[in-house]
Subunit: 409 residues, 2 copies
Amino acid sequence: MREDLDMEVIEGGVTAVQGFKASGLHCGIKRSRADLALIYTEKEASAAGVFTRNTVKAAPVILSQKHLSSGRARAVVVNSGNANACTGDRGMKDAEKMAETAANVLGIKPEEVVVASTGVIGVPLPMDKIQRGIYEAAEKLSSHGGSAAAEAIMTTDTYPKEFAVRFDLDGVTVTVGGIAKGSGMIHPNMATMLGFIATDAAVSPDMLKKALKYAVDRSFNMITVDGDTSTNDMVVVLANGLSKNPVIDSETPAYFKFLRALERVCLELAKDIVRDGEGATKFVEIEVTGASGVEEARKLALSVATSSLVKTALFGEDANWGRILAACGKTGIPFDPSKVDIFLKSKGGIEQTARGGMGLPFSEEKAARILAEKEIEIIINFNEGEASAWAWTCDLSYDYVRINASYRT
Amino acid sequence: MREDLDMEVIEGGVTAVQGFKASGLHCGIKRSRADLALIYTEKEASAAGVFTRNTVKAAPVILSQKHLSSGRARAVVVNSGNANACTGDRGMKDAEKMAETAANVLGIKPEEVVVASTGVIGVPLPMDKIQRGIYEAAEKLSSHGGSAAAEAIMTTDTYPKEFAVRFDLDGVTVTVGGIAKGSGMIHPNMATMLGFIATDAAVSPDMLKKALKYAVDRSFNMITVDGDTSTNDMVVVLANGLSKNPVIDSETPAYFKFLRALERVCLELAKDIVRDGEGATKFVEIEVTGASGVEEARKLALSVATSSLVKTALFGEDANWGRILAACGKTGIPFDPSKVDIFLKSKGGIEQTARGGMGLPFSEEKAARILAEKEIEIIINFNEGEASAWAWTCDLSYDYVRINASYRT
């Protein structure tokens, strides 16, 4: 959909950015796969985070919110395989111990360490393994370690997720790169979404926070695999300023250029999470256009993206526009159904299935061709205003049920 | 859960009530199954309805809301196989024609007829077949026709749903009986919920409306199969007063006794809809207790009932209390996770899986025995206040995906 010609997509994730080192390794929480990641910037960075809105927040979420209130950070330590959620006082102490251990070995302050966990709920962390792991991870820190970190934060993701862009900002080259993990579900747990983004742009903590919120609202917050929100979700950005651009501390043109790059990195990582959704066979973009306001457009797009009926119809390659319209209606957002147009689009073509809220006689054969593709767009035009929004989802397949019903196998 | 000793459950549905006749037949919308139902009371009745909150409302919903604004009705005509939704001006005219046809043949006014439809969206009604069907249905009206009507409103329901109770009210015998249909999905459509309830109690239109809203909020509005809301949902009650109790026109003890019976009928019909949910292998009651307020309790219970992760875990017979707690948290309702207790219960026993928001070491074997049952209770105690609420759901199985992905087979 939205293209950007003046930024270059480059290889790698967090360590594509100058001054960032990372590592990932197996410390023993999981049986054999990597389960501990460390990200570090030698130069102190501006830092910001957005966190799960779930009332039930895991200990590392509470701790990292506290640490990031200063707007500064130098390291991120992440374990997978255990969420350190619903673990009471001991969980809080363990999260603090993770920050302290990383701080000690890196020679920084505990408050400069962001902590994240993902995995099993309600089981205490094996702190001896994790502490040994943090020491080893610090030794292994490398400017080529981003991919190892991306791998170590995975749960049931089938591949690691990295993305980076490079662009010119006020005459200097700036890089933004990130890693993420998505739809992994481990007993007893739900999909946890983690994203860690690095940049060498110089940005004030306040503007970095503002930019991250904007970017996440249009990316990570517009994707859905099954509508559930984890106790552990977080997206964190660190900006170490090594590119030496004039510090972005207000809404200058440079801010908006940086914002676009940050949004792009968040969006590509978020889309990758959907593509790797549990049991997903299709990647679906929902475009709501002609809505009365942006908030309305976002809610409408997310309602379609979350509907089990729409998602099963997509799995069945069924041009079921009635379910799409009904999913819009159930938001309670007022609109005139008799103005709504619905289109299905993919590499296989484009077909209008409803006009003015009524079904059009459409070619079943053409619709089948469109829906047979792996990447599909649903376009819903409300013909009421100027606002648009996009959401991304996957289909709901037998494998989603299998993965989530029989985690033990 | 809630028992009632002073009301008698009796056979039948709407025609268990004196003065009501009904019929059901095949008029030709569907290939061979019954698709047209008529309910009629010779004596004019107080009447009230509650309707879908979906912004996209089918023509019969809009018409019936208008007709019921008088608080009076004498007949309900229902077709299945076609929802008459997203059918524009023609759809509105067709709904009016259904009311007029029924009014003509029964010798009443069109405004006294409630119209309902369920089935395919976006396809015009075959009005010639429906009009002939209404004539035939009027001829077949009988005081034993309730079951035929219950059968004729079905879509993919696997069995007809009827329930009736009889009780003493101020020295006279009063009956409340109803029929309902649930989780049928037909291309391109979503689950439509219809409920029609008859009573011979004498109740003013205002109090009948109040009672119906209360009862539906605690029954039909607390069930979920997949979280989607149809364009055609409605629940309607007709009270013809033939039992000759002193008219209930305020919140007297008689009102509350009547209310309890109405709630019971709505609840049993609603539960039956869940039991017959598409692909359902388990019936699950979620009890939220110790919440700070009733509205909060209702939202928490419904959030658990709607969570795909909880529903797949139940299908997998997995004692996944972390998903239950997270589904509560995602409502955004403030509560202290460290106070929450979670229990699983069935004929197989009862087991506490979390205490104070933390996992308890529990017997996997016992949990498996509990979850192996067909009817399961999840009890969540927030230990914060006095409020309780109940919601009902089914599990999310392979068959749900199969039914909704491949409607053509």
